[in-house]
Symmetry: C2
Subunit: 459 residues, 2 copies
């Protein structure tokens, strides 16, 4: 196909997207009306059924795959070529609470001007609908799909996708593909699309100490018996110092530094450091960083140890002179390639033992491996170009982002290059009340996805 032919085709697809917009907003409302709160197992099976029904209505063959947790909805449709594109999305949502902070009913799609409000309207039901709308528009214009498409729609993303690596191992052949569009995509404040190429891993642990069978009066036991809160504080203080360096021997062994190519992308990206400082009411960043490429590098290419919570003893108003028998801390380690959560837990255990804290128990709560796609993969470069064509602005290419998701088995088990596209924007309020998208972002997300489908056939 010549470039002119391609442009003409994409213009016709864009017209079709415009013509079917109201239909797909209705479908988005249909999907958002079905609560599907994985944290509470509320409406999960119903939403899996609805997702499969909607895919069947678009001509897909579907299966609902058990995982031990929420089922995966799998959909497949042949195309002109056997090259296969996989969409990874999720049908589950965060709980809507606190309900009193919503201006509209969370499970009723509400349109106000250019905005659509509902729980999941962005994360991830809106993103999923951009894939379905793009699929339909491409098929309508071409008369058939140019490539084979597969939908992998899971139902536990909001609780850490605990069963996804296992499901991918189990159904590896079924999910085989040549490229993957990830579950999200967004523009930044200035309207530039973001192209995310990797995510950090996560190792979430809980440290607990129990020093006695019951709490003690501090006047009685202060000099005599171990205090769980002190044990916890001392143990934690050996994990990381004020230099922010993690002191667990071996922790950094598998941490790879950013490549030159990564740094080049980071250097091109906008500097939001002033906005960031203002949002969080800060005078400056850790370790004297002031912004620029170094800050952006540190933000994602450094592994971290974050205390998420501390609990011990009396936490009410005023004074209670209690010596607590129990204390606990939650910590997440954000991991960079090629660290793994599986290696961190025994390193932490050995470290605490060596430092004299065998009494501090370590419980592994959740984790995912870090993963990244090669920025130079032709599929990635195609997606970047397609985004620039749709948005009229050069994408922000993020070689790695600070957050975590179940990206690793898609890249490293299924062997897929992974790109992003979608309908988010910085004020989408995902996970929060008044979650929303803008209709013009929704249209652009559909257009970008449709271009990836059509150009993928030509790669």
């Amino acid at each position: 196909m010549t470039l002119n032919d391609q442009s003409a085709l994409e213009a016709r697809i864009d017209d079709r997207i415009d013509a079917t917009l109201e239909y797909w907003i209705e479908q988005l409302g249909r999907l958002c009306a079905q609560p599907s709160i994985s944290a509470q197992r509320l409406g999960i099976d119903e939403c899996a059924e609805l997702t499969a029904t909607m895919l069947r209505e678009e001509g897909f063959e579907t299966e609902i795959l058990p995982t031990g947790g929420s089922p995966i909805v799998f959909g497949e449709h042949g195309g002109r070529s056997d090259r296969t594109l996989l969409f990874y999305n999720h049908y589950d949502v965060q709980p809507p609470e606190p309900l009193e902070l919503w201006d509209t009913p969370p499970f009723t799609l509400t349109r106000v001007g250019d905005h659509l409000y509902a729980r999941g309207v962005s994360d991830d039901k809106g993103q999923l609908i951009t894939r379905m709308a793009a699929t339909a528009a491409v098929r309508d214009v071409l008369g058939e799909l140019p490539v084979r498409l597969k939908y992998f729609v899971e139902g536990e993303e909001e609780v850490g996708s605990p069963n996804i690596p296992g499901a991918i191992d189990a159904y590896k052949d079924m999910f085989a593909a040549d490229g993957c569009i990830w579950e999200f995509g967004s523009v930044d404040y200035s309207g530039r699309p973001e192209q995310t190429l990797g995510m950090r891993g996560l190792c979430y642990v809980e440290l607990t100490v129990e020093t006695a069978a019951l709490d003690c009066h501090s006047g009685l036991g202060g000099s005599l018996i171990p205090n769980a809160a002190w044990r916890l504080v001392w143990a934690l203080s050996t994990i990381k110092g004020t230099d922010e360096r993690i002191r667990i021997p071996g922790f950094y062994d598998n941490a790879r530094p950013a490549h030159e190519r990564d740094l080049a992308y980071l250097a091109q990206n906008p500097d939001h450091s002033k906005d960031f400082l203002e949002t969080y009411g800060l005078d400056g960043f850790l370790l004297g960083m002031t912004g620029g490429t170094e800050l952006r590098r540190a933000a994602v290419f450094e592994p971290t140890a974050t205390i998420n919570g501390l609990t011990s003893g009396y936490q009410g108003p005023g004074a209670k002179t209690v010596l607590p028998a129990q204390a606990s801390a939650k910590i997440d380690f954000r991991l960079v390639p090629d660290q793994t959560p599986e290696e961190i837990v025994p390193l932490l255990r050995a470290h605490l033992d060596a430092e004299g804290f065998p009494d501090v128990a370590v419980r592994y709560v959740a984790g995912v491996k870090p993963a990244r796609t090669d920025p130079d993969d032709p599929f990635v470069q195609m997606s970047i170009q397609a985004a620039e064509d749709v948005y009229g602005l050069p994408p922000i290419v993020e070689p790695l982002i600070g957050g975590s998701g179940p990206l690793h088995p898609f890249i490293h088990v299924l062997g897929l290059p992974v790109v992003t596209s979608g309908c988010g924007y910085p004020n989408s309020r995902v996970h929060a009340p008044n979650e929303n998208i803008r209709i013009h972002d929704f249209i652009n997300g559909i257009r970008h996805t449709a271009r990836i489908i059509t150009r993928f056939a030509e790669l």
Copy 2:
């Protein structure tokens, strides 16, 4: 008076105590029926009025003294000599909650065999009634009081007596005396009476850190912005190490070691270390201590720093990847003579600043000075002998106990030797549901108090 005369007199007083027992149990029920919860300011003024009324019924002149908080009930009655004995007690009680754990209504005195149940029946209304019953019995038998008696009954002991040092400064002449019986007294498991001669001081502080205007996603801010929980952990770890030594420069400067005489008393006292280990489910004590005089010395003559509580970030089940903007800890320092809470706070502030934690705020919550009575004071020796005569067992003399109370102004402002007597026993459940005393301890407490009154006239 000869020893025979004294014995005959005391026997007659004991008979009178037996004869009036039912009346004083009724009076105890009357006082317990009036709730007086200082933490909630519930029934405080009513209980102060009732206490004054009951003292007036015994012929005392009374005044209700404002303090800025709960009023002090002051009662005074002249005697044959102008030597003056002061009773320090309190009419306030702890909240009765959790109510569902009471077997009887907390504000209805309930008699079951040898036991009396009610909130405050031991702490401190029962102890107060032993003073009033002893006073009445001595007066009834002698026809007049042998010495001048003063009642100092406060209403904020259960919330740390914040206004007592100031009130003692303000009403110093009114409270002038030659000796004092403290608000409590008890026997141990074996029935030996305890004679307490001092209490540790207390400096209760709250440390708080606020590192940002709001919490941050840990994937976003982990490498970039300060984490309040880490700041708190690092700051706390500079205060005390695993060797239990407090690292605040100057902290120990005014801490006096135990005297030879103190160690001699501690050496005579029973070793409850095995019971203690069993109660708290421990294999051993801190720092390898195994019991004996050294354990008893460390328990009370070492100042301590106890973390009472830790709070930061997410404390619910499972994983939340939040970087907390706020963290706080409650710490109590137990102080030994001659440390003061007033000196500890600036030392702690200077220490945190020097260690690089000016961002960790220190708030002084409450405190009292440590204080001790000279074991060789004739008044103290008289009380010890009187206890042995009543109980038929040598008292356990505790030169200092681990807990804290407003003892300092009585000893060091009013200049009084202070002893203990009363009706407690190890299972009195003070501050807990089913607070109770045993009637035979109540009788012995009255007898001991009566002997102190009569022998005090002869000192």
